[in-house]
Amino acid sequence: MPKVIENQPLSDMIWKMKVEVPRLVTKAKAGQFVIIRVNETGERVPMSIAGLDRDAGLLTVIYQVVGKTSALMTTIEAGGEISDCVGPLGLPTHVKKWGTACVVGGGIGIAPIYPISQAWKEVGNKVHAIIGSRNKDLLFYEEEHRAVADELHICTDDGSYGHHGFVSDVLKNLIDSGEKIDMVMAIGPVPMMRVVANLTKEYDVPTWVSLNPLMIDGTGMCGGCRVSVGGETKFACVEGPDFDGHKVDFDLLVSRLSAYRDQERTAMKKLLENPKCQLTKAVRAFKYPN
């Protein structure tokens, strides 16, 4: 069983976990993901690769507490184990010299665009990184991104740090300022990816988005992860997770993500009420946004 080397909060609900999976780490590439199972009765949850330390054999995932499994993940102490970590899954992000490229990360998406930024930079692109969150406390990986990107742009929804506004506003300003962007990669909550894709469509800038449908096996066996791209059904776990943002049916994605809403909420409620579960005070205070 894979060993957890580090597991700590970056903010109340956003955590960073490092898992020892040496073989996986040598093979994994930016844009791919893993599937984690916390314990023997646990769900299989997909998590993007947010960092690879090939020398130490460590994989970093950054996760947000949104339900039972992500909450359970916070209870694993450094030195503990998770039942499974399978991968690398999915296709890697295209790495090519586009010219000037822009990676856009919103919320939890700040994590997976970091290795993509690195990979694009390594092959000689000029890289703009735009990272944004709801407020200053939720922002993370600023230093990591600053060390890689040619230019780092930061924004918060409430203006508590960086530009006041959404990542899409910053991207729009950047394009309007005359910077010719040749390629965009956007990862974050579905509404954010949709807004970015709509924007770049207007400007005719090719844009990849990384889709996060519900998954089980992650190998093409179940079809639960199907998304619609350009009118065609695709299995995101094997044909993605990256797709042409201008062709994705975001409505379908949002709808399918809500399939188990009631069951998920009941499970989370039970967990939060269970005094035996080793949750931090902050995590125990979890509330659904609506």
Partner: protein, 474 residues
């Protein structure tokens, strides 16, 4: 016990009826449906066998189990010996006794069956295998001294498990790489508990582990390591038994609505992830009130019976041909009917209709009639114009077959496949176009049966041993 009965007297004994859970009870639980023969039943049933010199049953078995031989051992009350006799050619009798289509194989050609009901060979097979396991009589076979040669097996379905067992016995160092977190292939993720208890599959895997087979679960070959990298890591031969695990969809309007599953997804959620156990496990599953399953194979029957057990008021099979063309085992169709499954035959869906939340709420169906025979020899169903009607459903399971998963083929240069993406092999050896690489089971044949996969594993193991000893060991 063995009073020498005359054939005529033997034929007079009625075929044993395996006790079963009552249909109206079992359709709400996941416990196994048939409960197994009692010792007395098994002994009486064994007396029905005529011990025919020509042994048509043996020829009817895809792996030529010595059927009269093991039945004679039952008569001698050497049940464990009988199980061992079967295992000489079929490593998975407890599983095959439950899921093989005996009615199309050994029992179809049984001499007794000409005038009466055939000997219940499958029931007897199950009886001896269960007896051996339940009484801790399973003996580890003798393992040959280590050959120092390493074999990698990709996929832990019946084909992979069979190859592993045979090669480990011969002294090879065997590792099974499995993509999922539990070994067994379709036996664990597809076939439900009420037809094949998972403890039985686990017991088979445990025996293999005791024999020295190493299991590396959660390892996707083609992603983590490629076949070529396995050779680089020192494996001397590779067997590919990755199954037919890519679900087909209908390709009709509304198929991505919430509440429309592939059978693989539905069964995986229920079986592998344990959703049938309710809140004990974390993976959710949709509980439908009106569940429609599209298709007529074993997968469809397993899905629809799962739907019923998860609380459906109405559970339908929707199949575009008639009952005689259904590929499911007859026993399973009977079981389904007894449990209250409703059959809509000669019917095909043409679109799915969703509600405002993107959930399926109905489907439009069209009636079919049978026309001329098609390539498969079955009469081709053709739609009857104007016969459309709407059926209210809140859960649909698409069980219209699987294609081959391309992961391994796409990452193994020089591995030949046919136009469906199945790996092509020399059928006498299961050798692929790549030296030292063998394949068998559904990845070669397309969706078939457990015993054919296991049989392919036997053939491959024999050829792999020869290859290893003659060309690698030297």
């Amino acid at each position: 016990m063995i009073k020498k009965l005359k054939p005529k007297e033997r034929m007079k004994i009625p075929r044993a009826i395996m006790p079963e859970q009552d249909p109206q009870v079992r359709n709400r639980n996941f416990d196994e449906v048939p409960c197994g023969l009692t010792e007395e039943q098994a002994l009486t049933e064994a007396m029905r066998c005529l011990d025919c010199p020509k042994q048509p049953c043996v020829a009817g078995c895809p792996v030529e189990v010595d059927i009269p031989g093991f039945i004679n051992l039952i008569l001698e009350k050497d049940f464990a010996g009988a199980a061992r006799r079967i295992k000489a050619t079929n490593s998975l009798p407890a599983i095959c006794g439950r899921v093989c289509p005996q009615e199309e194989q050994c029992e179809q050609v049984c001499i007794v069956g000409k005038k009466h009901k055939p000997v219940a060979i499958g029931h007897l097979e199950r009886f001896v295998a269960d007896y051996e396991r339940d009484n801790d009589l399973v003996q580890l076979p003798e393992i040959a001294p280590p050959t120092g040669l390493k074999v990698a097996i990709v996929g832990s379905g019946p084909s992979g498990l069979t190859v592993a067992g045979d090669l480990v016995k011969l002294g090879h160092d065997v590792t099974i790489f499995e993509a999922l977190h539990k070994p067994g292939g379709v036996l664990v993720y597809g076939i439900p508990e009420f037809r094949l208890p998972k403890a039985i599959v686990q017991a088979e895997c445990d025996v293999l582990a005791q024999m020295g087979v190493k299991f590396q679960n959660s390892t996707v070959i083609g992603k983590l390591d490629t076949v070529d990298e396995l050779f680089e890591q020192g494996f001397d031969a590779v067997f590919i038994g990755t199954g037919a695990g890519l679900p087909n969809f209908m390709g009709i309007e509304g198929e991505n609505l919430i509440g429309i599953y592939s059978a693989n997804e539905y069964l995986t959620r229920s079986n592998l992830m344990g959703a049938f156990k309710g809140e004990e496990t974390d993976t959710p599953i949709i509980h439908g009130n009106n569940v429609a399953v599209l298709g007529g194979g074993n997968t469809a029957m397993d899905s629809v019976r799962t739907g019923l057990r998860l609380g459906a008021e109405n559970a339908y099979i929707v199949y575009r041909r008639s009952e005689v063309e259904m590929p499911a085992r007859i026993e399973e169709i009977h079981h389904a009917k007894a449990e209250g499954i409703q059959f809509h035959l000669l019917t095909n869906p043409i679109r799915f209709i969703g509600d405002e939340n993107g959930k399926v709420k109905a489907m439009e169906l069209i009636k079919m009639e049978l026309g001329e025979p098609d390539a498969s020899g079955r009469r081709r169903p053709v739609p009857i114009e104007g016969s459309n009607y709407i059926m209210e459903v809140d859960l649909v399971v698409v069980a219209i077959g699987n294609s081959s998963n391309p992961l391994v083929q796409a990452t193994t240069p020089g591995l030949d496949t046919n136009k469906w993406g199945n790996i092509t092999v020399n059928e006498e050896t299961m050798e692929t176009s790549r030296k030292g690489v063998y394949a068998g089971g559904d990845i070669v044949t397309g969706g078939a049966t457990v015993i054919l996969a296991a049989g392919a594993g036997k053939v491959a193991a024999r050829a792999m041993h020869k290859y290893l000893m003659e060309e690698i060991k030297k």
